[in-house]
Amino acid sequence: MSWIGRSLPRLEDPSLLMGRGRYVADLARGAASVKFVRSPVAAGRILSIDVPDGELVFTAADLDGVKPICPILHRPDYIAVEQPILAKDRVMFCGQALAVVVAEDQGLAEDLAEEVYADIDAEDAIVDMEAALAEGAVAVHAHAPGNVLVEGVLRSPGLDAAFADAAEIVTLDLRSGRQSAMPLEGRGGVAQYDRISGRVTLYASVQMPHMLRTGLADVLQIPEADLRVVAPDVGGGFGQKMSLFPEYVALVWLARKLERDVAWIEDRRENFLASSHSRDQSFHVRGAFAKDGTLLGIDADLKSNVGAFSCYPVTCGVEPLMALAELPGPYKVPEYGVRSRGVTTNTGMMAPYRGVSRPMLTLTMERMMDVAARRLGIDPIEIRRRNLIDSFPHRSPTGLVYDEGSYKEAMDRAVAAIDLTGFRARQKEARAAGRYLGIGFSVFSERTGYGTPAYAARGMNIVPGYEIVSCAMDPSGFVEARIGSSPHGQGLKTALAQLIADELGVEPGKIKVFSGDTDATPYGWGTFASRSMVIAGGACKLAAGKVATRLRSVAAVMMQASEDHIVLEDGLARVTGTNQSLPIPEVARAAYHQSHRFPQSGPGLIENATYDPGGTFSNACHACIVEVDIETGGVKIERFIVAEDAGLLINPMIVDGQIHGGVAQGIANALFEELIYDETGNLLTVSLADYLPPTMAEVPTIEIEHLETVSDATITKAKGVGEGGAIGAPAAIINAMVDALSPFGIEIVRMPATPQYIRKLIREAERDAHG
């Protein structure tokens, strides 16, 4: 009986449900409280910082021997910038840490922070990309005049000819507002100092514990062995908890300096101000189409506002270079030209957020298809069908290799599920009654589970990608798998246990997966980029497979049978074709305690394995029906369908959960959330009453259809699925809104498409009609 493919309730849940989870703030008891004093201005020169006497207050001047954070990308068009742990000489964005205070409890730390006064000679801040790129703009970083920190350019030779031959050229100018991944638990760390060893254990709410340890050790210039980083239960991350933040450096420095335990738990305001942001992008894209709707070429100018610094380890190249590489998405794009820039400004640092650039890329290609279809008089589904990739492996214009997928099939499934024909009739009736319904589609690819070659190709100095798993069956027949991935809510431990269970013939309840502790797990990269199921899963399968081979070999000796005839299932090692069997725990105990009997396999049941795949593409089509209230500009999502192909599903319930959560964030991207700076660089949206994540009232029921294309790109046959919901949903919603408002001839060119924005478009359209 296989455990794969079953919606097994998660092994992680009982303790979380009973309030016995251990999130970082739960570990802060007994530690001194740390509070950062932050800059109230976005740009300026620090003249002095007055600190109260006799208190534990530190500024940049105290941080002797601590290096700045400075991630590197080996590209000639990348300019490295240094991020100090506490601002030195200059402040670069509103919310940057100027000083750090330590007190006995949180209240006292906050009181003390109020007493620190920074005298800053404020200067004009550069907030938006157009200002940063304007002729003669002040350089945010003196050594980067022009304010471009990374730039990629590609141009295929036939591009001009494609545009010259085009029957129709579609030009789009699209904008996405700045957003926060906004995990419900903010960032935080507890650094515990061990007086005997001088070692520090940092408990932190992070996605990449090993990488964090390396980064901290480099910046603090201490051996990695003097540090242990533990990610306990983590309250969501979505990319925001990948980076090395200055706050963690300060925390470890303080623990060592003061030789005591210190804790910093950020509040929501701090999370908005000083944690990473994303999605502040502006795209100017032209598409050349033949008369029959064939896409001939794309020419794109893509800009991403990367804020004041570059995030470690993935760098500020993450959004611009993802945009450059993946704009064509699921479509055949014979000729491709692109310039993609990362622009620095006096704003919060950009870092990954679920989807990275692809929500905007998908919006671009999907608007492109709808607009071209309208202009050329072709059905929008048909124009997609003509251009979607359909032979595999497919090589994209930027050299990405797509494995088998079901691009057209997924679209057909979504069209059928949403009853496109029936909807059109209903839409007509509704319009006659003064109601504006619309339908929208979004077809996309989701590159997942990619290993070192993909990251090396980006020129990264630190090349993530592989995962190492150490798998052992202990003498009691329980299994311990130690993984370098670091899940934070996905339910990965359950899904991995299902995979291992099938290899070893024991039930998932007997499989303990350990993660997120640099003392207890092999070096690994953590959980991001829809990689853990594919890569940690692959390594688990390999390692468990090797343990199974050992088990079979021991069992064969014990039962005097041939190894090939031993099967492991239902907790037993059985000799096929006989009724001979042994309980697996008995075999396990013998492997450790009677090892002299098994000279050919040696003692114990412990194996390591590494997996470093090239990557695999999931695909999906989202379809939705919306109603726009033209009086208020508000939108109601009536139906939302996801036809998803993530290969073989290990735990379908968990996969569906990933899709639900991603779609909700996509809805937020399309309609609600935006971090807004004023023209001085002061962030206006610093509470959950200003930044508007959707509630249960705004998220509709999401109907999911699965396709399961089995490709050879991964050894588990699973594809990643963490980001797709967030990638595809915005385009489907915006397309549906444009469809709903087609009587007004409105083009939506920015996200979030808030009620105010929609009302403005309607007012303008009405004025034009009457003018």
């Binding site: 309730p9 309030g19 739960d26 639900h660 509470s687």
Partner: protein, 165 residues
């Protein structure tokens, strides 16, 4: 050092005598003074609902209430929901229907739902949706939360929890 007040909170049926500043929130008192860290803080300004507990059986945002205001009240937190290792019907439904991912919002949703369903076991799905829309979850898209609560509501109606809660 600010003035402290000695208060007694009754949490999950047990007395806790604490000495707290007037400005200490109920959430901080529960977490730091009582050691009951199941109640989470997602915003500390009354929007996310992660800190929801029951005070005299009514859902309350414990980040918006001072500990001194809860003096003598009966407070219930997520730690008091299960009977020993036997999960409450709501907890069981969340487990079986994948009503949680990271689990950070979960205690708040559980207590909000428990309070609402105890006050009115016959709430319709629409009413439940309306009540639960006062809390935030960043992971689940809410779909399995509403499903879990509705299924638990059915079961709670079929076999009401004993009065000894």
């Amino acid at each position: 050092m600010a003035n402290k007040h000695v208060i007694t909170l009754i949490v999950n049926g047990k007395d806790y005598t604490l000495s707290v500043e007037a400005r200490r929130t109920l959430a901080d008192a529960l977490r730091d003074d009582c050691g009951l860290t199941g109640t989470h803080l997602g915003c500390e300004h009354g929007v996310c609902g992660a800190c929801t507990v029951l005070v005299d059986d009514k859902p309350v945002r414990s980040c918006l209430m001072f500990a001194v205001q809860a003096e003598g009240c009966s407070v219930r937190t997520v730690e008091g929901l299960a009977k020993g290792d036997a999960l409450h019907l709501l907890q069981k439904a969340f487990w079986e229907n994948h009503g949680l991912q990271c689990g950070f919002c979960t205690p708040g949703f559980l207590m909000l739902a428990a309070g609402a369903l105890e006050a009115d076991p016959d709430l319709s799905e629409e009413e439940i949706r309306d009540i639960l829309s006062s809390n935030l979850c960043r992971c689940t898209g809410y779909q399995n939360i509403i499903k879990s609560v509705c299924l638990a509501a059915n079961e709670m109606r079929a076999c009401p929890p004993s009065a000894d809660r």
